[in-house]
């Protein structure tokens, strides 16, 4: 594959952008001269010290906006095929003014459209793309965190080949020679002994090249493996519709939503859009507004469960029985479409066993579904067996409405294989394999234990090539390794489940000259062009041509006509929209036969414990295991950081006699996992939930050895949950660290909530519970904020799911350091925005959950200001509670006097001390410095800091408005947390602007202020949460 040469200057070829007229009319020679002056110097390169991990050259390549500005093309790949700014046209050349680019990041077979902010060519922040159907303006934790991976100092930085037991660096040229040799070798046998393994891909170009490769090597074979996959859903689709169709639900259109162990607000694909749509029907302005009702059936307490109006906990295995019973109930309540299925289920040996199920809950749920027929959804979890998915599809067909409450996505990847099968078959055929090319993934760590992938790689005569971002467990065992380019470094195209196609634009040249998967494929396929951009263009030009045009005409103004214009338009928006595909007919017969061929699930005996596996919300399957932001992100329910644990219910913990942090040994066959226990109120009994992605041994300096690897227990037939695991409590204890150690409100009016009925009876209940003493006459003349801007924030607790996206968004935007487990244990974590999670209710087995994002409340009468001896924190005329870092001496008096405890203190130099002990990690990697937001001070040791309402964004917005000579309008300024929030739970704006959202929310009757009785007069207010329980069901069902 060709290394990128720097492009010689060719006048006229470059984009018609210039900085000055001189530049524009300049002669090529001068331009040449300009180029020389332009590239080496400049403010960007000054960032890099000699020991920088990023060579200045490669960095200039990536960030040579200056070169671009002069209309030059020196040593840059981008001018050849430039990417287009999202909102701010070529003005983005102004140093210090950030530019925004639309791109996309993969979510298995789904994708998430994002907009990336770039400062002087450094991507610094990821935000949602409100034009993108999978984002709707929001993002998730992983999207916020994946930027950090780009600057991960432990990324693989050069190709390497195996020498004895170690990998030795080789030059890129050597690696290419090796690949060429490999390809040549296989031309002989048509690739009979060639295998390729890659994670699930959602890229049409990838699939196109896949077929190309197979055309060249007919006997070769592609295998697909992702530890977290959609096998069940696709098989369910096959049963129900004959092809692997996956439904996309419209939670906004539904009155009753039933989650069958589906964490559709968290781990499921499409969670971001799901959140937005779900919240749209919960955001009540007044008691009479329609509000959906959510029933959740699950084993672990997920954030979806925390949003439930009724939640019943049961083991994963029992969900199948529950579903079947539900089908039966529905058909008995006159849902005729389900009659044949119910019939078959009853006939089947064992029939429908409802023992141990909450039948009251079941019947009321069924009744509710029938009453709201046509506007109901049943959502099966990715971990549930295919039959459950098929039945759920049938139920939706019956009680839901296609196109309204859900619609089926297109068949994107007709011949995509199921991960668990695919990898098992690779293992089976390993004898015939002489070369294995792995395009990403880390199978040695996350492949099913029974596949024993490590042993496969170790075989004699097997040449394995592993292309990955890190030199991970798999690279260590492969014969060749090459660095893989980050998503922000490569061109690509990705489809979303609902069908839209988005384009992945590089914002920076590969920092370490990484390989790009589709380029490597093209090379293997022997394509003429092997440049990612051209490959993508080709795909879109040929394969999807007609469809694409129709899409675009649908999605875009007609003045875009030429292909070039269409292409630019698509890049600009970052997405080709797509009309929903027409409905498919449900194949009842095939479901019936599927039922017939299955045996009815039995209630599991008390003795054996069920173990179920979940991806970590931040680390996912381990891909982000070295990501500092992800590692220090408190898990939504347990608030654990820097570790994973075996989650179990209070009852089970009593039965086993274990305390929090006590080590457990989980044994199945000879597979053993030792992991500390953590008790989660509301977790199902007799089962243990394990999180994937931890316990990496070759993740990097931060992730190595953090947490516990649970993959040894995970086998191909028990990838989602497995039964018959014996659990024994060990004597030794492990130190697990939480960011929030006390999880009860102790009867204080903090995260206020009420049922819909109470709300109807008493619409302003919230303000009664948290009384604001502003009514009492003040002792002194109050400050007047009635003129100018009056910034304020309102947070709707009815919409907030506690997904943590805002926490990392804030961390990325404000250069907030991570401090390490040892310091978090001492309560020194630095997150400006934290999400408080409280368990509500006396029964620790059936608690409700209340979440509340807490950040600086920007009190108008701030206690912190009165006590600062040096005026380091004072009020602006716009009512912001400002911190002057340079003035701060660090008495910490303000933090003592803050009732919300939102101030954070730099006890040590966190940028030098990410530690388990003092000074554990002294130097701060150069590459990480590139991530910093230049508009926010990097705080030094001994300084107090806190949320500023993203004052840098406020000023940016005001300046922009002023430059355009217009008034600032609502929505011009979005705080980082507000932007990231998938459910739009946060409104920020000018309280003096009657049309602003925040002003409207503040006027809503369930609005209240936290700890108002202290008289701090916060600018941030909360909208109390409303629960909508079924009147016929008591408590949690």
């Amino acid at each position: 594959m060709t290394r990128r040469k720097s492009y010689e200057l060719s006048p006229g070829k470059g984009p018609s952008m210039w900085r000055t007229l001189e530049d524009k009319n300049a002669e090529p020679e001068e331009l040449q001269k300009l180029a020389q002056e332009e590239q080496p110097g400049g403010f960007i390169t000054d960032l890099l010290s000699p020991k920088a991990l990023v060579s200045r050259r490669s960095f200039v390549q990536g960030s040579s906006i200056a070169a671009l500005a002069a209309g030059l093309q020196g040593c840059v790949r981008r001018p050849e095929n430039e990417i287009l700014p999202y909102s701010k046209a070529p003005e983005h050349l102004v140093p210090g003014v950030s530019s925004h680019f639309a791109t996309v990041t993969a979510r298995g077979r789904d994708s998430l459209g994002v907009v990336v902010t770039s400062h002087e060519g450094r991507p610094t922040k990821v935000e949602g793309n409100d034009q993108h159907p999978t984002s709707l303006g929001g993002t998730d934790v992983r999207a916020q965190a994946y930027l950090w991976d780009l600057y991960d100092p432990d990324r693989s930085q050069s190709p390497a080949r195996r020498n004895g037991n170690a990998l030795v660096n080789v030059s890129p040229e050597d690696f290419e020679k090796a690949i060429d040799a490999l390809i040549k070798k296989h031309e002989a046998d048509q690739g009979a002994s060639l295998r390729l393994l890659s994670p699930i891909s959602n890229s049409p170009t990838f699939r196109r090249l896949q077929t190309k490769v197979l055309e060249r090597f007919p006997n070769a074979r592609f295998h697909t493996y992702s530890a977290v996959n959609d096998d069940n859903a696709r098989s369910g689709g096959r049963i129900a519709y004959g092809e692997p169709l996956v439904p996309v639900y419209n939670y906004g259109g539904a009155q009753v939503i039933v989650s069958l162990a589906s964490d559709f607000l968290g781990a499921e694909p499409g969670a971001v859009a799901a959140g937005a749509r779900f919240a749209s029907r919960r955001r009540l302005a007044d008691p009479r507004a329609p509000m959906s009702r959510l029933y959740v059936v699950e084993s672990n307490y997920t954030i979806t469960g925390s949003m439930a109006d009724h939640r019943t906990r049961m083991r994963q295995a029992d969900v199948a029985r529950f579903t079947e019973a539900l089908v039966d109930q529905l058909s008995s309540r006159g849902v005729t479409q389900l009659a044949p299925l119910a019939e078959k289920l009853r006939q089947r040996s064992g029939g429908i066993d409802t023992s141990g199920l909450n039948t009251k809950f079941l019947s009321e749920l069924a009744a509710d579904l029938v009453n709201n027929r046509g506007q109901s959804i049943v959502v099966p979890g990715a971990g549930q067996p295919p039959l459950v998915h098929a039945l759920a599809l049938a139920i939706n067909e019956a009680v839901g409405t296609t196109g309204k409450t859900y619609h089926l996505g297109p068949n994107l990847d007709p011949n995509g294989e199921a991960s668990r099968k695919s990898i098992a078959e690779l293992a089976k055929e390993i004898d015939q394999v002489s070369s294995l090319i792995m395009l990403g993934g880390n199978p040695v760590y996350d492949a099913p234990a029974d596949v024993k992938f490590a042993e496969l790689l170790g075989r004699e005569g097997l040449t394995s090539v592993h292309v990955s971002t890190h030199r991970d467990e798999t690279s260590a065992l492969s014969s060749w390794h090459a660095p893989l380019a980050h998503e922000l470094e490569a061109w690509g195209d990705q489809t979303a489940l609902e069908g839209s196609i988005s384009f992945q634009q590089p914002l920076i040249a590969p920092l370490y000259g990484g390989t790009i998967a589709i380029e490597l494929l093209a090379k293997i396929a022997g394509e003429k062009t092997t440049k990612d951009h051209d490959l993508v263009r080709e795909t879109q030009a040929t394969g999807l041509d007609t469809q694409t045009k129709s899409m675009l005409r649908a999605g875009f103004p007609t003045e875009y006509t030429s292909d070039e214009q269409l292409w630019r338009g698509a890049l600009h928006a970052g997405v080709f929209k797509r009309q929903p595909s027409d409905a498919k007919a449900l194949l009842v017969e095939s479901i019936v036969s599927a039922i017939a061929s299955s045996q009815s699930p039995k209630p599991v005996g008390k003795g054996s414990v069920e173990v179920s596996f979940e991806p970590d919300p931040a680390l996912w399957d381990g891909a982000q295991a070295n990501n500092l932001w992800a590692l220090e992100l408190p898990a939504p329910m347990t608030k654990l950081v820097w570790d994973n644990a075996a989650l179990l219910s209070p009852a089970t913990s009593k039965a086993l006699g274990v305390k929090n942090g006590q080590m457990l040994r989980l044994t199945k066959g000879e597979a053993k996992v030792e992991i500390p226990a953590w008790i989660v109120p509301g977790h199902a009994d007799d089962c243990v939930t394990l999180t994937l992605g931890w316990g990496r041994t070759a993740a990097g300096r931060y992730g190595n050895g953090k947490g516990f690897d649970v993959n040894p227990l995970r086998t191909a037939d028990g990838m989602d949950f497995t039964d018959g695991v014996t659990v024994e409590a060990l004597r030794e204890a492990y130190n697990l660290v939480q960011t929030q150690t006390h999880d009860r409100m102790e009867g204080r009016p903090i995260a206020i909530d009420a049922t819909l009925d109470e709300y109807k009876k008493e619409p302003d209940f919230a303000s009664y519970r948290s009384v604001d003493p502003v009514s009492t006459p003040p002792l002194w003349a109050q400050q007047d904020y009635s003129t100018g801007h009056k910034w304020g924030m309102a947070i709707d607790l009815n919409a907030c799911t506690g997904c943590n996206a805002c926490v990392i968004a804030c961390q990325a935007e404000n250069n907030i350091p991570s401090v390490g487990k040892f310091e978090v244990e001492r309560g020194r974590e630095m997150h400006w925005l934290r999400i408080d999670r409280y368990f509500v209710g006396d029964d620790e087995n059936e608690p409700e959950v209340a979440v509340q994002p807490v950040t600086c409340q920007q009190c108008e009468e701030a206690p912190c200001e009165n006590v600062c001896p040096v005026n380091a924190t004072t009020h602006t005329p716009e009512g912001l509670n400002d911190m002057a870092y340079n003035r701060c001496v660090g008495t910490r008096y303000c933090a003592n006097n803050c009732p919300y405890k939102v101030r954070r203190f730099n006890y040590l130099d966190w940028h030098g001390h990410l530690d388990d002990e003092f000074g554990w990690f002294e130097d701060f990697p150069e590459s990480r410095k590139l991530q910093f937001n230049p508009n926010v001070t990097v705080r030094m040791r001994g300084v107090m800091e806190k949320c500023t309402y993203c004052v840098q964004r406020i000023e940016e917005g005001k300046i922009a408005a002023k430059r355009d000579g217009r008034a600032l309008k609502d929505g011009d300024i979005k705080s980082a947390c507000q932007q990231a929030c998938p459910t739009k739970a946060i409104a920020f704006g000018d309280l003096n602007d009657p049309k602003s959202a925040v002003a409207a929310w503040t006027a809503v009757n369930r609005n209240y202020k936290l700890l108002a009785e202290i008289g701090t007069r916060p600018r941030t207010s909360f909208l109390a949460r409303i629960r909508n329980p079924n009147p016929k069901l008591k408590g949690n069902g």
């Binding site: 002194w780 003349a781 400050q783 701030a862 200001e865 009165n866 005026n871 009020h875 602006t876 007069r1017």
Partner: protein, 192 residues
């Protein structure tokens, strides 16, 4: 030294007991001397009367400066926290909104007014006293006498300085001898 001439500086009469010196002091007082003093190892009470001294004015000084301190405090705090003009180019104060309170809020200024009042009062008392008693003055002809060292131990002395207009080598000597001191000497100082 030889070429230097010596001029009389003062007479130094030594006494054993407080009463003796008190008696002597009264005599010297009645003789109408002004520029004279009694040297005692500790504060002899009643000597004011015996020497006919006017009461001290130190208290007034302390009071005035104490009040000045209070005023200074008020000015400093109001100037820096409540107003924004630049006086004598020491840097402009300016009002800031602190916790939503009025910049010049008076109650919060009381403690510092008190403290600054005390501080200046203290300094005034110390330096006022030193000024009144003309100290520090590390050299004085009286230290020429070897016996005077006892003045800080257990002996009492009366010194009549040559500066006094009634001073006369003979008559002053006679006066002092009449108070029968245990020892009497004339201290001379050298003038180059």
């Amino acid at each position: 030294m030889a070429n230097q001439t010596k001029t009389p500086a003062l007479y130094l009469a030594e006494y054993e007991t407080p009463n003796a010196i008190a008696l002597a002091a009264m005599k010297v007082r009645d003789a109408g001397y002004q520029n004279w003093d009694c040297h005692t190892p500790y504060a002899l009470h009643g000597m004011d009367e015996a020497m006919g001294l006017k009461p001290t004015r130190i208290g007034i000084i302390s009071f005035i400066f104490g009040m000045f301190g209070v005023g200074l405090a008020v000015f400093m705090m109001q100037y820096t926290n409540a107003f924004d003009f630049n006086l004598l180019n020491v840097g402009a104060g300016y009002p800031l909104v602190i916790g939503g309170k009025p910049p010049g809020a008076f109650p919060s200024m009381v403690p510092i007014m008190f403290e600054l009042g005390i501080l200046l009062c203290g300094f005034a008392t110390l330096f006022g006293m030193l000024r009144l008693i003309k100290l520090p003055m590390h050299n004085h002809p009286i230290f020429e006498s070897d016996r005077f060292e006892a003045a800080s131990d257990d002996k009492f002395f009366i010194s009549i300085e040559a500066g006094d207009q009634k001073f006369d080598l003979e008559r002053t000597k006679a006066l002092l001898e009449a108070t029968n001191p245990t020892h009497l000497e004339l201290i001379e100082e050298e003038v180059p």
